[in-house]
């Protein structure tokens, strides 16, 4: 037995791979017919420091049978297998179905845009889409914009993995999956179920394994077909300009560093145009607060706060609810309405372009005052009519019965009701007038010149400049509401420099009412609206 064992060792050769996960057993030709059994092979493997659990018994059987059946040939087979480690999976992020669809659409848009750009088939006007009419380059945004509270997706946690074992029974350590500490930041919040929601509204970015919401949308170059129209809940910064026909709408500030063409800007807060807007009579601006611009040309603008223009305002139609603060700017052509007065460099032009400036005007309030003033004679007529009927009836009855007396008294009460409406109306007009007195200002400072063909409206007056007026001056109303001009500290009637006529384009200032109105409620329509 001892000799036989020595012999069998000479016949067997074990090869183990580098990873020590597989071992091949070779049996050399066995012309002496030394018995090769499964037990003998197992004993050999164990003697070679092979872990018993890794031995493939079925393969050992086959190999032993083969060696006995064909002893003159060599045989080999993998008879030992270790277990490779199962590596852990890194933490990941699964977007919500809605966002997945949007991300897919953005990818399609980008692909279509690249193709259209290469083939020079981008739309030429707002009604066109791409050639296949599948992408609306104006209204489909390439930005993933989310609202506060939106479901963004869910976090897939890292798995630890599983250790392996080599043919010698030694553990092969696994690589556990990595957590992603920077996956989300404070712009997102993770709930108990592992779902991620937007903590703020803004632009969602997902570079690598970092998901962020930026409250600012920064457009790298132009707002054009590459970006489509922008409608963003907070701040928008455009590093270059805005092309014709595109819109930029923002819930906060809009800042644009280069030229804005004939487009539409709409901000709930400030708009800052480092360069300016060449609106070509179709560009529009609406701000919820201030506007700062280098220049404005052919623009229709509604500005809730201050308007600061550095160089020129040319052929624009502008409504400024605050003040005009543009001491170096030339205001040429168009119509500029300013609720709270302000300062401008010059008005009009050498060429005599008609330039209209309306100062101290709050159109919404004025509209209500005019409406109330129109109603007044109607109410007065109704009172007169009712009173006349009342008097006629009273006379005709002579000595009225008790029943008739009651009816007469009731008629009187009804006249009282109409009279109270008149009181309400006068009170509303007074309060609206007070709003104008408090919120409108009619002083306009001109730093250098008013050119001929400039017309300025102040409350109750139209002031037409038939000649150029040079030098710094200030236009205003005096305490009696008459237009005056102040130059070098001296005030004089406006008609010394321009033709002044009474005009109610801007309503004359409503003087405060002396009578005290008596009511324990103040919920009339005009006051509420005001």
């Amino acid at each position: 037995m001892s000799n036989a064992n020595c012999d069998i060792d000479d016949l067997l050769k074990l090869s183990i791979d580098k990873q020590k996960l597989n071992a091949v057993l070779r049996i050399e030709p066995n012309p002496s017919n030394i018995p090769i059994t499964q037990d003998a092979l197992c004993a050999y493997l164990e003697g070679s420091d092979i872990h018993a659990q890794c031995i493939l018994n079925k393969e050992i059987d086959q190999l032993a049978e083969l060696a006995m059946a064909e002893p003159h040939h060599a045989h080999e087979m993998i008879v030992v297998k270790g277990k490779p480690p199962v590596e852990g999976i890194n933490a990941g992020f699964e977007f919500s179905d809605e966002l997945k669809a949007r991300i897919e659409n953005i990818a399609k848009r980008e692909e279509a845009y690249r193709k259209a750009e290469q083939e020079n088939t981008l739309p030429t006007d707002a009604d066109n889409e791409d050639n296949e009419k599948t992408i609306d380059f104006y209204n489909e945004s390439p930005f993933l914009i989310v609202s506060k509270g939106d479901l963004i997706g869910s976090i897939v946690e890292a798995s630890p993995g599983e250790d392996g074992i080599n043919v010698h029974g030694q553990a092969i350590p696994t690589k556990p999956g990595k957590d992603l500490p920077d996956l989300i930041d404070s712009s997102l919040k993770l709930d108990d179920q592992g779902n991620v929601h937007a903590r703020i509204a803004g632009h969602l970015t997902h570079a690598g394994m970092r998901i962020r919401i930026s409250p600012t949308l920064e457009v790298g170059s132009y707002v054009d077909f590459s970006t489509g129209n922008i409608d963003f809940p907070s701040e928008v910064i455009v590093n270059e300009g805005v092309r014709d026909r595109f819109c930029v709408k923002a819930g906060e500030n809009i800042e644009i560093r280069k030229l804005v063409e004939a487009s539409a800007l709409d901000s709930s807060q400030d708009i800052i145009l480092h360069n300016g807007m060449a609106g070509r009579d179709t560009g529009t601006i609406r701000t919820g607060r201030d506007l700062k611009a280098g220049y404005l040309e052919g623009v229709e603008a509604s500005i809730a706060g201050r308007c600061e223009v550095q160089k020129e305002i040319t052929n624009c139609k502008i409504m400024i609810a605050g003040t005009l603060e543009s001491p170096n700017a030339a205001l040429r052509g168009g119509e500029t309405c300013i609720s709270k007065g302000g300062t401008i460099g010059s008005i009009g032009s050498v060429q005599g372009v008609k330039t209209d400036v309306i100062v101290g005007w709050i159109p919404e309030i004025e509209k209500k005052i005019r409406l109330a003033q129109d109603l007044r004679p109607k109410i007065e007529a109704a009172i007169a009519k009712q009173t006349q009927e009342f008097e006629t009836l009273k006379k005709s009855l002579g000595k009225p019965s008790r029943e008739q007396e009651t009816e007469i008294e009731f008629m009187k009460f009804e006249i009282g009701i109409i009279e109270s409406k008149l009181v309400d109306l006068d009170s509303a007009i007074d309060r609206l007038g007070q709003i104008i007195r408090e919120h409108a200002a009619h002083k306009l400072n001109v730093k250098s010149m008013i050119f001929a063909k400039t017309i300025i409206w102040l409350p109750g007056f139209k002031i037409t400049f038939e000649n150029d007026v040079k030098g710094e001056l200030s236009l205003d109303l005096n305490k009696s509401g008459k237009p005056i001009v102040t130059r070098n500290g001296n005030s004089e009637p406006m008609n010394t420099i321009a033709r002044v006529i009474a005009d109610d384009r801007v309503l004359p200032i409503v003087p405060p009412k002396q009578d005290e109105f008596i009511s324990d409620d103040s919920n009339d329509e005009f006051t509420q609206a005001a």
Binding site: F413, G416, F517, I518, D520
Partner: protein, 124 residues
């Protein structure tokens, strides 16, 4: 002339007081509802009452009805609103002498007082 102002709104009473003082009436007493007014009538002996309509505890109409059971002559001016239009006939029948509809101007209140006093034959 002694005037009793019956109104649950202190602001309204103050406004009425201010107007009446402007008109030269200085002998004024206030009551915050009908019940309060009835309790002050005996001592104050008003020559004119301005009565609000909607008041807690005792409203204007109940006050007028109760007051008229014992006093048929003291003039009563009802201070009302358009909303109370449906109850005006009832008020007239109960013995109200005149009305002033809120809101009103000092001129209108003065006119109503003068008219009422003249109608009731009270010498001012």
């Amino acid at each position: 002339m002694r005037i009793l102002l019956i109104d649950d709104s202190k602001t309204m009473r103050n406004i009425q007081k201010s107007v009446l003082k402007q008109l030269g009436y200085t002998d004024l007493e206030e009551a915050c509802d009908g019940q309060d007014a009835l309790s002050k009538i005996g001592a104050f002996k008003p020559e004119l009452c301005l009565v609000d309509w909607n008041m807690p505890t005792m409203d204007g109409l109940t006050f007028v009805k109760t007051f008229r059971q014992t006093d048929k002559t003291t003039p009563l001016i009802m201070v009302t609103t358009e909303a109370e239009k449906s109850r005006v006939i009832e008020a007239i029948k109960a013995g109200v002498n005149n009305y002033v509809v809120k809101p009103f101007t000092p001129d209108l209140l003065s006119e109503r007082i003068a008219e009422t006093l003249a109608k009731c034959g009270v010498n001012t």
